[in-house]
């Protein structure tokens, strides 16, 4: 693999081969072929499409967030419904699978949210209500399944996560439950798993490396915070044991899969960070607060040591992978 050469190594090669200026330039171009114009155009069109979509959606959101008193409530709802219908109509008229058709579906999914938010605004049903996000999650599912692309799924997963969080805070409040954290953990882990499976099946170049990293981050968020919630609760039930076991399973499976099967250093780092956090949460929980100077000191030293070791461990793994690639 040429692309993983370090700058220094290339420089060395140029020195050893004793290349002149022109020769060196040719050598570099042969290592890193220049991009074709076609690729640049494609890159630009995707970027502009994404940028346009983001700006257009936020324009719509902020327009309605202004809450114009001079506009009749039915004309607000009518405007958004018509835009939604137009977006869907243009999608239906399209033929081939293209980025712009995906963009229409993303726009439609966002408009569903705007529609529900404005409905809440008109009938004063409360801000950031769990019903809004629950409705948004379910009412955009059809668009998401039809489009079946990483950005659409990501939007949908984000909505689901927000719904779970709000459900905990607004509905369960008195009895926040380890089961809903466990559910959220499994939900996100399943999404990552499905992505990796699809990715392996297609055996093509990775199209959305950001997807497993971000959704993996959400998975670890729930693994870590769900366990902390369970560890620090005064009243314990079976659910708490399940939560902690699930987290430990997630950490270890995550570590082994991403070290030996698929290479993602980010998720490895998250595994180690979560593991350290969990171990120290238990440590703080069983802490004797009457005499805390010594445990505090040793705890601090231990924490520093483990963190330093993790960083070294990650660097070693990275170098291992690099070497492997060079041999292979």
């Amino acid at each position: 693999m040429m692309k993983d050469l370090e700058k220094g190594e290339i420089y060395e090669a140029i020195q050893i081969l004793d290349l002149g200026k022109d020769q060196a330039r040719k050598f570099l171009i042969s290592l890193f072929p220049q991009r074709e114009l076609k690729e640049w155009v494609r890159f630009a069109s995707i970027s502009f499409l994404g940028l346009g979509l983001a700006l257009f959606s936020s324009g719509i959101v902020f327009f309605f967030a202004y809450n114009w008193a001079g506009m009749h409530r039915f004309s607000k709802l009518g405007l958004i419904s018509c835009s939604l219908a137009v977006a869907v109509g243009v999608y239906l008229l399209g033929k081939s699978e293209s980025y712009s058709r995906q963009a229409l579906l993303i726009l439609a999914s966002v408009l569903v949210g705007v529609l529900l938010a404005v409905y809440g605004q008109i009938y004063q049903t409360g801000a950031n209500a769990v019903d809004l996000f629950l409705g948004w999650t379910f009412l955009s599912l059809g668009f998401v399944i039809a489009g079946n692309s990483p950005p659409l799924w990501f939007l949908w997963i984000l909505l689901s996560n927000i719904t779970v969080e709000l459900y905990q805070k607004q509905v369960l409040f008195r009895d926040e439950s380890p089961y809903s954290y466990s559910f959220a953990l499994l939900f996100n882990a399943a999404a990552v798993f499905l992505y990796e499976r699809e990715n392996r099946k297609n055996d093509s170049k990775e199209i959305a490396g950001w997807f497993p990293n971000t959704v993996g981050f959400l998975t670890y968020y729930f693994a870590t915070f769900g366990s902390i919630f369970s560890i620090f609760r005064d009243v314990k039930e079976e659910g708490d044991l399940l939560m902690v076991c699930l987290s430990l399973a997630t950490l270890s499976i995550g570590y082994f899969v991403y070290r030996y099967k698929i290479r993602r250093l980010g998720i490895l780092a998250l595994s180690l960070l979560s593991a350290i956090t969990l171990v120290f949460s238990v440590f703080v929980r069983v802490f004797d607060w009457n005499d805390f100077a010594l445990p505090f000191l040793f705890g601090g030293i231990a924490l520093t040591t483990v963190t330093a070791w993790s960083a070294r461990h990650l660097m070693q793994i990275r170098n291992e992978w690099k070497k492997g690639e060079r041999v292979g």
């Binding site: 529609l115 004063q124 209500a129 059809g142």
Partner: protein
């Protein structure tokens, strides 16, 4: 998934969204039309929501002063309106009955520290907050089932602030 199924799915999703919204709007409009207007005394503050703009958080006297830890998660607040429609607290109860003729009911649900009618935020046009700081009452339209929606806020003379 071929394109036909995909299009069918997208189209049916659109229909579901519009039907759902239509049903919800219809229900709320009925309460707006058929419900009786009652006033609930307030104590407000102002935040902003990203998608819904400026709003005023409302705290109703009637629920604040009568809150207790042993209330059920859902139930009815029973009140009697005075001659101006201002609500006076009678009691909380779990079910819609028993209720005498001069008493009215409104659904509530509770959270850890408060009772809520699901109408604790009043949205208004951005930049018009000053006007609404005069608010002393929240006006709720309540139907015979006890479903309430917030329709406006009122000043100390019990006039609607527009």
């Amino acid at each position: 998934m071929n394109d036909k199924i995909r299009k069918l799915l997208v189209l049916s999703n659109l229909i579901v969204v519009l039907a759902f919204l239509g049903k919800e709007v219809w229900q709320k409009e009925r309460i707006k039309e058929k419900g009786e207007l009652f006033l609930f005394a307030l104590a407000p503050v102002d935040p902003r929501s990203l998608m819904q703009g400026d709003y005023m958080r409302l705290g109703y006297e009637i629920t604040r002063t009568n809150f207790s830890q042993d209330l059920p998660n859902r139930g009815f607040l029973i009140f009697t309106p005075d001659s101006d429609g201002v609500a006076r607290f009678v009691r909380f109860q779990k079910d819609s009955e028993p209720i005498s003729t001069n008493e009215k009911k409104i659904k509530f649900h509770r959270s850890q520290f408060a009772v809520s009618f699901g109408a604790e935020e009043y949205f208004f046009q951005e930049g018009t907050a000053d006007k609404f700081s005069e608010a002393k009452f929240g006006g709720l339209k309540v139907d015979s089932e006890g479903n309430g929606i917030l329709v406006g806020v009122y000043d100390k003379d019990r006039k609607e602030i527009r």
